[in-house]
């Protein structure tokens, strides 16, 4: 059983692609080999900046011979049939075998596909793998047509067993496979031949290449923590950075350097970000002072001066970088201490989106909405509005211009410098949250209000200009924004009807797009007041329209026509996101649909309360049976209503009841209806479901004993009206007609 070793040696592969590429090499090669009949015992893939390597142990020396038997025509069948069979099998007539079967003598063909040597199969599969490799980005070079991530220089491809080593004869685009490779670019000793994987790994190490990326990462982390520990310091963990750095070196050498005293006053996040983003340095913290005081850089080589020149160079580059950061920080603090008004003002000149106005316009809208939302979260309206007005100020700062990932965090520092209340500082940082499904949701009332307003403004804005997500395209991250709103509402148990806030904010967007700014503002005030009074838009625009004399701007009538649909469509988008969110938590989609069909479905907390109660109830035997009873009642009733062309909804009277089961159902409904509706009123959906559960037995007994469609028309109608009481009682929590089963 031979072992196979493949190395694809190229110019430097981007660090972020290496590990994935090694896995792809393994998968494509092993899939291809196995498909051709070459099984193996173990497979290992490796990557360094300059090579992808695959080692397969215990490969079959050749693919197995495959024998297949085919049954042909009867002996004595027409020649045409027999010739056709021979063509298909690739045989001649004298190779056929006659066999007796219960149906007489029949020809049988035995076809053999001979096995092929491993080398031939490997050459084919490797060529296919190289030519179709799934690099995220590939390129051509020189005069060739082959695509690889960077120029591919050599291919090592050998089969080895006790008898020796053979090169797999193979070439692609002029690169011929061989048995040689080379070590470190600067510390290696030129090309060398290898006889197998063990030999390969040993010779690479001799020539200063650690083949395994995990081993390099471990080496870096151990050395880094050791040099830090020796000085009473600790390295700030950063797994992403560690694996990136492990992909930038073949022979890692850890060097620790000082951060000049001048820079130790910078916020630790700034030091960390600047060192990581620009220089790929690790931060080293002093646990006594809790400051970042040193850095670790990882060189790709040893030198005769033990890295002194390299460290001095890195230190110099860092000095320049941190001088920039310090310059930004000091300028920013000066602006912040003066109240940061310059930043807020300058956002008026920054475009947010060409159809949605400037960042200043956006902040104005968010501030207004935040104020309206303050009541919902029981926050002080003035502080909330102030927080919203400051929340984006740091976007004008030099630091955030340089390091966009520090947005929000810098806002918190600058709010402190500006002497603003701590709620404002926290909201500056927290209003971006939650960013992803695992990100924490803020709970401080002011932060929650601004976070909601920010996201709702974005969503309504892009809905107003009809830039909704389609398929996989969501350039403005609107799905994430909607999920953010959902989590803010649910995890803080907030009660609010989203519709009102949609309308409010859609109006603000429309007013922004109106041509006559003054009139727009006046109308906006009127309409907003109407919304505040009546809750939702509905006919409010019409009322305003009636109140205004003379010609109306066209956009007001457009608004009347379009706004309710836009608002409804946006709510539908929220419901879709909510379904995805709840499904991940195990709530059935039909349960959610049944609850979305109820009134007040823009109150997400109420909606989810219903869904959880219904989901729980349907998990019980009572629930399942009641659902059956309800459906039966509802079907009979619906059919009768369709046939008779009337709605049976009122007037069931116990005096027309003939059967005991019928009377018992009247009694049960009399007893439960009140309880159910008051439980619903109190939003105690579980109790309401409990009330419905009590109807289950009487309903079952009723259907057991009674034929609804009686010959007596009075009795029939009375029974239909009785079924209608079941329908009403059971539809109070959710639309059970939408529940499956």
């Amino acid at each position: 059983m031979p072992d196979l070793l493949i190395e694809l040696f190229s110019e430097e592969i981007p660090a972020r692609m290496q590990v994935r590429a090694a896995e792809d090499l393994k998968k494509r090669m092993t899939d291809g080999l196995v498909e051709a009949g070459l099984t193996y015992a173990h497979a290992h893939a490796f990557s360094t900046p300059r090579r992808l390597t695959l080692a397969l142990e215990g490969l079959l020396g050749e693919s197995p011979t495959i024998r297949e038997e085919r049954k042909g025509p009867k002996v004595g069948a027409p020649d045409k049939a027999i010739d056709g069979f021979l063509r298909g099998a690739g045989l001649t007539r004298d190779q056929l075998e006659e066999r007796e079967t219960p149906k007489g003598a029949v020809y049988f063909a035995s076809i053999e596909k001979p096995g092929r040597p491993a080398a031939a199969i490997i050459a084919e599969v490797l060529e296919d793998t190289i030519r179709n490799f799934p690099w995220p980005k590939a390129m051509r070079w020189g005069t060739g047509s082959l695509r690889w991530v960077r120029p591919l220089h050599s291919i090592l491809c050998i089969l080895s067993d006790e008898a020796g080593t053979e090169i797999v004869p193979f070439s692609v685009d002029g690169i011929k496979a061989g048995d040689t490779t080379e070590g470190h670019r600067f510390m290696g000793g030129g090309r060398f031949a290898v006889t197998g994987f063990e030999d390969y790994q040993i010779k690479l190490k001799r020539d200063h290449v650690i083949l395994e990326s995990d081993e390099r990462a471990e080496h870096i982390w151990n050395d880094a923590t050791n040099v830090a520990f020796a000085q009473g310091l600790e390295v700030v963990q950063d797994k992403g950075l560690l694996s990136e750095v492990a992909g930038l070196v073949e022979w890692p050498v850890v060097l620790m350097g000082d951060i000049a005293e001048d820079f130790l006053g910078l916020p630790p996040e700034v030091l960390q970000t600047s060192m990581k983003e620009h220089q790929k340095f690790f931060s080293v913290r002093n646990p006594k002072t809790d400051r970042i005081e040193k850095f670790i850089t990882v060189a790709n080589r040893e030198t005769s001066d033990h890295g002194a020149t390299i460290l001095a160079g890195n230190q110099k580059v860092l000095f320049a970088r941190l001088s920039d950061a310090k310059f930004f920080w000091e300028n920013d603090i000066r602006v912040a201490e003066a109240g940061a008004q310059d930043w807020v003002d300058s956002l008026n000149n920054v475009t947010f989106h060409n159809k949605l106005g400037s960042q200043g316009d956006r902040i104005g809208r968010i501030a207004a909405l935040s104020r309206e939302l303050a009541g919902v979260v029981e926050a002080d309206a003035d502080v909330t509005e102030a927080a919203a007005r400051f929340a984006k100020a740091d976007l004008s700062s030099e630091m955030v211009y340089e390091f966009p990932e520090l947005q929000g965090l810098m806002g918190r520092y600058y709010a402190g410098a500006a002497g603003l209340p701590v709620e404002v500082a926290n909201a500056a940082q927290e209003h971006y949250s939650p960013l992803g499904p695992s990100d924490d949701v803020p709970s401080a009332p002011v932060s929650v209000a601004v976070a909601l307003a920010d996201k709702l403004d974005t969503l309504t804005g892009f809905w107003a200009i009809d830039e909704k997500p389609t398929g996989s395209k969501d350039p403005f991250a609107l799905r994430r924004a909607a999920l953010g709103v959902i989590r803010l509402v649910l995890e803080n148990d907030l009660r609010l009807g989203l519709d009102t806030y949609f309308d409010w904010q859609l109006l603000r967007h429309e007013a922004h797009q109106g041509e006559d700014a003054l009139l727009a503002q006046a109308l906006l005030a009127d309409v907003s007041a109407q919304i505040a009074q009546h809750g939702v838009l509905g006919s409010v625009v019409r009322t305003v329209q009636d109140a205004v004399d003379g010609d109306l701007p066209k956009y007001i009538s457009d608004l009347r026509d379009s706004l309710p649909d836009t608002s409804k469509d946006l709510l539908g988008f929220f419901h879709d996101r909510l379904k995805v969110y709840l499904r991940e938590q195990g709530v059935r989609h039909d349960v959610i649909d049944a609850c979305i069909a109820m009134p007040g479905n823009d109150d997400l907390t109420l909606l989810v309360k219903r869904a959880r109660a219904l989901g729980g109830f349907l998990g019980t035997e009572d629930g399942v049976n009641l659902l059956q009873g309800f459906k039966r009642a509802n079907n009979i009733l619906t059919q009768a209503e369709e046939k008779d062309g009337v709605e049976y909804s009122f007037g069931a009277d116990v005096k027309f009841a003939e059967d005991d089961a019928e009377k018992a159902l009247f009694a049960a409904l009399d007893a439960q209806e009140g309880a159910i509706s008051s439980a619903i009123e109190a939003e105690d959906f579980a109790a309401a479901m409990g009330g419905m559960a009590a109807l289950r037995a009487p309903i079952d007994a009723f259907f057991e004993a009674v034929q609804v469609n009686s010959d007596n028309e009075v009795v029939r109608r009375n029974r239909l009206n009785l079924l209608s009481r079941i329908r009403v009682a059971c539809l109070g929590v959710a639309d059970l007609t939408r529940v499956e089963g």
Binding site: E12, R140, T143, P151, D305, V317, A320
Partner: protein
């Protein structure tokens, strides 16, 4: 010339060593293009010559202008006018990385003491409709060069592929010479009777251009010139390929491309004056790209572009 194993002593010595090195390696040492450009890539020796099938090897210094980077000569390493050293070889030779590393040794960087790294950095020029894959080259954590294999220029696939090397000369020289502020860097040999620093040569011009770029340049004139250059480029290329006077086939790609370069620089000036909004920016870049594309389309119809009649 100083021997390559001693350290260079001035900015100009570094340039001279690069010139000698690449001349020895077989490049035609060209002179800077005589127009204002944002980077060495704009020189027709790179942009146009990377197109078509003909082989090419050239090296040159290119003064480059980035009006928005002006800092009145105060910033230690930011300038609105600086020098790039540019090498373009087509087809890219298999040992281009080794050739490049040799050039670093030639300017006095000892490979045994320094840590040279090739860090992923894909290059794209939206104004030239060009992109390529490669690296920024780090020396002890500092970016010293850009190394790119051109894949597309002016919307055309490059075949064969050119290898392009771009050195930021001031930054590289400051590192090699151990200088912290660009203006303090010796321009010629400091031992010479009339020793000049980079500041002696350029400090005043940095101030003058910074003021002009940011506050004085007449934006109405610039806008008009942009429109004119754009129109002229199209007009030149719309001419009949056969010159009526000589009866020869003469496609005027280079004169047209000059107009494209002009438009690009005028856009940079307008940008520095802050009169181009975020949304307009994309539109201007698209207009310059359209010119570059037309020039590229025309160049591949010429003999330098590999066209065989």
């Amino acid at each position: 010339m100083a021997s390559t194993d001693s350290k260079p002593r001035s900015f100009q010595e570094i340039i001279l060593r690069l010139q000698n090195y690449w001349a020895e390696k077989g490049c035609a040492v060209l002179q800077p293009y005589d127009m204002e450009v944002g980077a060495g890539t704009f020189h027709p020796a790179t942009t146009l010559r990377s197109l078509g099938t003909n082989s090419w090897a050239a090296a040159y210094v290119q003064p480059s202008r980035r009006p928005t980077d002006g800092r009145y000569g105060e910033n230690p390493n930011r300038l609105q006018h600086y020098y790039q050293y540019q090498v373009l070889i087509k087809p890219s030779p298999p040992n281009l990385q080794e050739l490049y590393l040799g050039s670093l040794e030639a300017i006095g960087i000892d490979m045994d003491l320094h840590d040279i790294r090739f860090v992923e950095d894909d290059w794209e020029s939206p104004t030239l409709g060009a992109w390529g894959l490669g690296w920024e080259v780090w020396c002890d954590g500092m970016e010293v060069s850009q190394f790119t294999y051109f894949q597309q220029v002016g919307g055309h696939d490059c075949h064969p592929v050119s290898g392009e090397l771009t050195y930021g000369l001031e930054r590289l020289a400051m590192y090699v010479l151990g200088v912290d502020h660009v203006m303090d860097m010796p321009y010629n040999d400091p031992q010479t009777p009339i020793a000049l620093t980079y500041g002696d040569v350029f400090k005043q011009t940095e101030q003058e251009y910074s003021r002009w770029n940011f506050d004085v340049a007449n934006t109405d004139v610039l806008l008009k010139q942009f429109e004119e250059a754009e129109a002229e480029c199209g007009k030149i290329l719309a001419q009949d390929h056969i010159d009526p006077k000589t009866g020869k086939r003469i496609i005027m790609v280079h004169p047209a491309y000059d107009q494209c370069i002009k438009a690009s620089h005028l856009f940079n000036l307008l940008d520095a004056r802050g009169v181009i909004s975020v949304t307009e920016r994309q539109a201007y870049i698209g207009r310059v790209r359209a010119l570059a594309k037309q020039c590229a389309d025309a160049f591949v119809l010429t003999s330098a572009g590999g066209y065989a009649a």
